[in-house]
Point group: D2
Chain length 370, copies 4
C-alpha cells in the first residue's frame, strides 16, 4: 500500500525509477476546480533535478501528461490521473545492487519484504523520483487551497549546521512567501543560503552528502479544521511527511524545544483581534487537539544526508553471505534538501485540502441538507 | 473520526472525561491469543494518576471491564471491547470553561469544530484520560508481540533540560528493559531521575508545568515489516504517536540530529552476524524505506508542558468577545511525561502488531494458500 | 473486521451472544444532533424478541446504556458508544455445538477461520442478537435523517410464498409509512399479514422455519447523493444489508425483474414537476450510476429461513470426523423476517446518512470555505 | 471515490469515455507473481466490443500498457498501473446530452452531484468503457488465484426471458468451466444461446434493448475465507458487483428463492468426504456468516437492459426546464450481458484474492512470526 489515503483525497502513486512511467491517481478532488497546468509545471520544476551544480546531473523531463479527470482544464469529479514517462529505463546494470544492498537505502528491507522480487533498478518504487507524482497531486491541491486564501510555503531551515532564519510564527508577508517560493535556492536570508551552498559543494567534493531541515507554513487555514486523535492534523501531516524518502523527524510549533519549556512560557494566551479569537504567540504551531486554531500552521521536517555517496562503503553480498565493499556509481544529489522543499509543500497540501473538505461534515446545524 | 485505523487492527476509542464511561473497541486481533488481565492491569497502573506527589491527586480506578472478544481469557476473533467507568462525572461547574477556553488546550478549537456542542467538562473527548483505553488496546497488543519475542520499552529521555542516558541503539539487555518497565519513575540513570523529579516539583511549587521527551525502543521486530510511503512504519508510528495529547515532535534514529550529519557518518554499514544481515551502527533507528531492517526500532517523542497551570492566564470570553483572565482550578499533573511512558509503548504496540500481521501478505510464494 | 466503515460514519459492533455485553461505537455523527432515547427504544422494541407467539420466547431486555457521545441528549462530536448487557451469559452447555456445527449456521466456517477459538455459545459474534447494536446505531442515524425530511420505512414483502402489496415506487403517503412503522406485524395489507402469520405458525408446529423478503423505501433523499462505482449507493447499501445475518439477496428497483424487460419498458422518462426534474416511473429504484435521482430509493432484501429448526438434522463430529445427527434444543424464531424489518431500516440509515454527509464535499464552488 | 478498496487490494480506476486514456492502479498485489500478458489479453477480448452483430460496432483497441509494478513480467510489490488509450476522444458533439439527460443513465445524477462540471462525453466516468480497466485488475488477480487452484467462471444465465441451465451448485467439471470461458457466447446449453441471440437481435431491430442475468461460480476457495458482517464475502462481493454499470440485483446460493423455502429444505447438511467436511447440497452458495465453507461460491447478477436505445424517449431540457424528446444517436449494445460476463469474473477475482490474502492474519497460532 503506497498510497496516501485521506478521508476525501486518495492518492495512489505508482511507478519505479526505471519502469515505463511513474504517475499518480488522485481521487476525491472537488469538481469545478480550474487546474492551471503551466503553474503546475512551475511548481514541478522546483523539484526537478539538473538545474545546478548542487543536484544530480541526471536530466529528467518531468512533464506530466494528464490522462483523465479534467474537462477543458477543470476538474470533473472523476479521478485525476497523470503520468510521467521514464525515458532512461532499465539501461544500467543493477545486478551488483541486487546482491549488494546500499547502506541507508531500502534495498535490503525491500529485498526481505518482497522475497527478492523487488525492482532494484534505481531504487525501484523507493526512489526519490516518486516524489514527482506526489508533487503533481500536491501541486493541484495547492492551487485549490490558494484559491481559498490558503497558502503553503516552505524554505530550507538548515543544511548541515547552517541555519536560515525561521519563519515568523505569527505570519509572514505575502511578498516574503511569494519570493521564497520563486527562489531557485529557497531561503529567507541570502547569506545563509550562500553558506549552505558552500556546505553542499564541500560535501560533494569529498564524495559525501549532507542533510538538512525544511520548515513549512500553512497560512490562512481557518480555525476548526482537523479532528481529534489519529485523524488530527499533526497525525495526518506527519504520516504524509514521513512518506517522503529520507525524512527522519517532524515537529510542530516549538516541537522538541517545547520539551524544555515551562507551561507559562509555552501556552499561547488568547486575545481578540478585529472580532476574531487569536493567540498572542504561536508556540503551538497553529494546532490544538489535532485541530487548527486559525494561526499559521508551522512545522519542521528533518532530512537525513543522501544515502548515495561516492565513498566506498561496507555492504554484504546477499548470495555469498559475507561482507564486501560497495562503490556506488552514477551521479547523485549531494543534498536533497533544496529539491525537497516543494515536496514538503505538496504533502502538506494533500492533508490540508483533505481536512478542509471534511469541515462541512462536523455539524449539520448550519447547513441546508435538503 | 477518533479511531486508530490500521490495516488489520482497528481501534475505536470512545468517551469523554465526564461521560458515564470511557472505553475502546479493538477489531482485528488474531484469534487464539491469551490475554493476561493481571499483567494488563500492571501495565495500566503505570499510566494511572495519584501514585506520587508528581502527578495529579485525582484518584481514578482505571480497572477495565472486558465486555467481549474473550472466551476464557483467550481472543476469539470477535472485536474486543472494554470500558472503564468514570466515577466522578459532570459534578463540577464547567460553564466558566465553556466561555473561557484554556490556553494550549483544545477548548477553543473543539468549540469551533463542533459548533459549540462539544463536551467541555474536563476536556471532554480531548482529555488525557482517553489515553487509558488506548493503553488497554496497546497493552493487549503488547502481550501478543511479547509472546513472539518483540519487546517495546520506553523511558523518560528528558524533562525540562535534564537528560537521561539514551538507549543503546544497538540494543539493550533484557534486564535493563525489564527494570525500566517496572520502575515507578522510568529512567535508565537514577541520578537523572532525581534531578527530573526536582524539576517537576519546582514547577509544581511555582504553579507551573514542564515538558519532556520519551524515548522508545521496539526490540525483536524482524526485518521486512512495514511498507513504502504513507503506510511505512515511520508514517504509521508518527500518526499514532501524534494522536497522544501534548505530543509536538517525533523523530526516528538520529532524527533532527541527522540533518547535521554527513552521509558517510550517518549511513549504517551492513555486516554479517551469525548468518544474519545486521548493521554496524543504527543511526537509521531500524527503519529504511518505511520497512524494518531487523535492528531495534528507536524513536523519540516530544511532549509540551502540561497546559493546565495554576498561574493566572489570559483568555477570552467567547460570549463577550473580550479578553478576560482565567484561573484554572483543580489539581493537575505538573508534568505528564512520566505517565506518558506506557502510552507511547501502547501506541507503538498497535502499529507494530498491525505491521507484523501484514507481513504474511507481501508474497505468497512461500506459503500454502490452498 | 466486523465494522461498517462508511466514509464518515464508522460503526464498530462488538459482542457475542453470551459475552458480558454487546454494543456499538458510532464515530462520525455530526455534532449538535438531538437523540431522542425514548423514540430510539420504540425503534429497538420493533426488533426485540418475545413479543408474540411468532418469535422466540427468550426475553431480552434490549435497553441500551449510552456510555459517551452525548451531552444533555445532544451529540457532541465525540464517538457515541452504547452497550446492552447480556443477562443470560454462558449458562448453557455448548460443548455439543463446538463439536457439531449446525447446518446453515456459521459454526463451521468460524471454526475454520478462527482455528477453533471462536465463541460457540449462542452463535457467538455471528448471533442475530448482534443486530440490536446495529439498530442502536441505525436508529440514531434515522433520527438525524428524519429531521431533514428523509424517512426510511420497510415492510414484510413476502413470507414463504405469501406476498404483501409492494410499495408504490413513486412514493407512499406519510400516513402509510407511519402506520407500517408502528404496526406490530408490519405489512401494508392486513390480509396478507394474516396469511403470513399462519405460514409462520405452520412452520413452527412442524419444527421448521420459513424465509421471506423485506422491502424498504428511503423517501426524501435529494438528488445527487452517492458516488460512482464501488462507493455508489447500491454498493454501499448492499454491503450493509448483506452484513445482516440470513440475507441472501438484494435488488434495487425492478431488480431481477429488470433482466426480463426491454429498455423501452425499463427506462424512466424524465419530466418536470413544480420546477423539479422527476421521472415518470421509478423502475430504477431512485439510483442511477450509484447516485440518487431524487425519486424514492427502493430495494428488496431476501432472507433465508431461520437455520435453527427443531427437526433432527445431519451434522458431523469435528473431533471424530464422522457424520452424526444433531438436535438443536432451545427456542428459536420460526421466521426472523418480522424482526428483521427495523434491522433493514437501520442498515439503510447508516448508508444514507453517510452519503448525505458526503454531499457537501463534491464541489466547493457554492460554499464558503474561508 | 471510484476505487474498490479491499483490505489488501486497492483498485483505483480512472478515466472517462473520451479522456486521453482510461486505466487502473492496483495496489497490494503480492510480489513474485507471474503475469501472463497474453492470457490477460485473451481475457480482455471477452469484454471487447465489435466482435459480433450483437454488440456495438464501435471498435476499441483495448490493449493495456503496463506502466509499472512488473519486473520481467513478475509483480515486484510496487503498485501495478496500466492504461488504455482512448483513440476517439472528444470528437463528437455532446452539448445536446449536457442539456438533455438520457433516461436510465447517470447524466442527470452526475449533473447534480458535480454541479454541472461532470464530463458528459460518452457518459464520462460512468461509461461502461470503464469496465475495461476493471478487467485488467481482475484478470491479473484471477491469474494469481488460478495458480492456487481457485477458478472463477461465469456464464449468461438469462437474457430476456430465455434461460441457460444453471451451474451445478455442487461443482462443475474443469472442462465445462474451460469451455464456457472460451466460448464467444458463454452459455452452458447452446440451444439457449441461440434463443438468446435471437432475442437480442429482435430488440436491436426494434431499436430497443434487453437485460439479463449472469451466474458466476468461484471453485476451489478453501473454507474459512471471509469475515463477519460488512466485511463478509457476500457484502464485499455485492459491493464490487453493484459497482458494475447496469447491475440491479445480486443473490447468493438460492438467493430470492430462499425466501420461499423451509429451513428443512434450505439447510445444507454436513457430511465427511475424504476426511474433509462438505455439505450434501449447496443452497447457501458456499458462504455461511460471510465466510466460505469450502463449497463452490455461487451468485447471480441481474443486469438491466442497456439504457441507450434508438427509440425516441422523453427527457427534459435542464436549461429550459421543460420536457423535450431525446433521440440517442450512435451505435450501442442492444444487450450488454454477453460482454459483462468477464466483468463479473473480474469483480469476483478482486474480492476473492483480497479475502484470501487476509486469511493468514486471522490466527497466528500456527505461524512462525519471528
Amino acid at each position: 500500500m503506497a498510497s496516501y489515503l485521506g478521508k476525501h483525497i486518495h492518492v495512489s502513486i505508482f511507478g519505479q525509477s526505471h519502469s515505463p512511467a511513474i504517475g499518480v491517481t488522485v481521487d476525491g478532488l472537488p469538481a469545478g476546480e480550474q487546474v492551471d497546468l503551466e503553474q503546475l509545471q512551475t511548481f514541478l520544476n522546483r523539484r526537478a533535478p539538473g538545474r545546478s551544480l548542487l543536484s544530480t546531473s541526471r536530466k529528467e523531463d518531468d512533464r506530466p501528461e494528464i490522462l483523465s479527470g479534467l474537462v477543458d482544464g477543470v476538474t470533473c469529479g472523476a479521478p485525476l490521473a497523470a503520468l510521467i514517462r521514464n525515458t532512461n529505463t532499465r539501461s544500467g546494470d543493477y545486478d551488483n545492487l541486487r546482491d549488494h544492498p546500499r547502506p541507508a537505502h531500502a534495498d535490503y528491507t525491500a529485498h526481505v519484504k518482497y522475497g527478492g522480487h523487488q525492482d532494484v533498478a534505481g531504487g525501484g518504487h523507493f526512489s526519490g523520483r516518486l516524489t514527482a507524482p506526489l508533487c503533481v497531486a500536491g501541486g493541484i491541491c495547492g492551487q485549490i487551497l490558494e484559491r481559498r486564501g490558503i497558502t503553503i510555503a516552505a524554505h530550507i531551515a538548515a543544511i548541515g549546521g547552517v541555519e536560515d532564519r525561521p519563519f515568523n510564527p505569527m505570519g509572514e508577508l505575502r511578498t516574503v512567501l511569494d519570493s521564497v517560493k520563486a527562489a531557485p535556492f529557497p531561503v529567507l536570508e541570502e547569506q545563509a543560503g550562500e553558506k549552505m551552498r558552500a556546505a553542499i559543494l564541500a560535501a560533494k567534493e569529498a564524495g559525501d552528502s549532507v542533510g538538512g531541515v525544511v520548515e513549512c507554513m500553512i497560512s490562512g487555514l481557518p480555525a476548526g479544521v482537523g479532528s481529534p486523535m489519529a485523524q488530527g492534523l499533526e497525525s495526518q501531516l506527519a504520516a504524509a511527511l514521513f512518506a517522503i524518502p529520507a525524512v527522519k523527524g517532524v515537529e510542530f510549533g516549538e516541537g522538541f524545544q517545547a520539551a524544555r519549556m515551562l507551561g507559562s512560557e509555552h501556552n499561547d494566551p488568547f486575545r481578540m483581534e478585529n472580532g476574531r479569537v487569536v493567540t498572542e504567540s504561536n508556540h503551538a504551531g497553529g494546532i490544538l487537539g489535532g485541530i487548527s486554531n486559525g494561526m499559521p500552521i508551522l512545522f519542521r521536517v528533518a532530512f537525513k544526508p543522501t544515502p548515495s555517496i561516492a565513498k566506498v562503503q561496507q555492504s554484504v553480498s546477499l548470495s555469498r553471505q559475507q561482507e564486501e565493499p560497495l562503490q556506488i556509481v552514477g551521479r547523485h544529489d549531494p543534498c536533497i534538501v533544496p529539491r525537497a522543499v516543494p515536496v514538503v509543500e505538496a504533502a502538506a497540501a494533500l492533508v490540508a485540502l483533505d481536512a478542509l473538505l471534511d469541515r462541512n461534515t462536523d455539524s449539520l446545524s448550519g447547513g441546508d441538507y435538503r
